[in-house]
């Protein structure tokens, strides 16, 4: 696992989940008028839990590889730091979405 493709995928997934959480927070007065919206929240919640579990594994493996290199690559370190921060935000989003279901 030398490349940062996994971290990039994780970054986009995390951003999508966080954006969904923000739009739910802003629009929850109106958007629940859609009959299928509760299912959407359920699906996103399931995706976010899966994302957290997988990205925990990915982050642990990648950080062991990246930190213990002989020559540290700046780009990799930056990706790692950003992804750990996003990972925390996804955990909070997931906990928030779990309160939005009946």
């Amino acid at each position: 696992m030398n490349d940062i493709r996994l971290l990039k995928t994780q970054l986009f997934l995390s951003l999508a989940i966080i954006l969904f959480g923000i739009q739910n927070y802003v629009l929850n007065q109106y958007i629940f008028a859609l009959s299928f919206y509760e299912t959407v929240v359920k699906v996103v919640l399931a995706i976010s839990v899966l994302t957290i579990l997988l990205s925990a594994i990915v982050l642990i493996l990648q950080s062991i590889v990246f930190i213990n290199r002989k020559i540290i690559i700046k780009k990799e370190e930056r990706y790692l730091a950003v992804n750990i921060a996003l990972y925390y935000l996804v955990v909070f989003t997931s906990l928030y979405l779990s309160t939005q279901l009946r």
């Binding site: 629940f32 957290i52 925990a56 642990i60 062991i64 930190i67 213990n68 955990v91 779990s98």
Partner: protein, 133 residues
């Protein structure tokens, strides 16, 4: 040094999983019930003081979802709004007094349109009932 740094990063990554995968936190999810707004509880307090009765809100509805469902027309039948009457001194119940109380309450109640009628109960028996328009 690098081993220590790796250890710290791994601990940082594992830490939120203790929150997310903790069954005790899932159990701590609050059960949504009817929470009287400040206006309603002030109204009840002032009416209690005025008429010298001990009446409290006895409704256990999940307000968030119930109000939402009504707003989007998913409910066929409106629920009743329960008020409990605490008869601590074991006096005979003065129906007239309660009638005046409930009439005054129903005029100023802000969630009027969400409920069908107001019931006043004491020891699980209905002592007064009024229909809302």
């Amino acid at each position: 040094m690098k081993a220590f740094l790796t250890f710290i990063v791994v601990v940082i990554i594992i830490l939120p999983l203790f929150i997310l995968l903790n069954p005790f936190i899932w159990g701590m999810r609050r059960i949504a019930t009817y929470e009287p707004s400040v206006v309603t509880s002030n109204l009840i307090d002032s009416l209690n003081r005025k008429s010298n009765l001990d009446i409290y809100v006895d409704t256990y509805l999940d307000t968030v979802w119930y109000f939402r469902d009504i707003r989007y027309g998913k409910v066929d039948k409106l629920a009743n709004f329960n008020l409990g009457f605490r008869n601590s001194e074991q006096k005979t119940i003065d129906t007239n007094q309660i009638k005046n109380y409930v009439t005054a309450f129903s005029q100023k109640f802000e969630h009027k349109k969400y409920f069908d009628s107001i019931l006043v109960t004491s020891d699980n028996s209905i002592i007064y009932q009024i229909k809302m328009k």
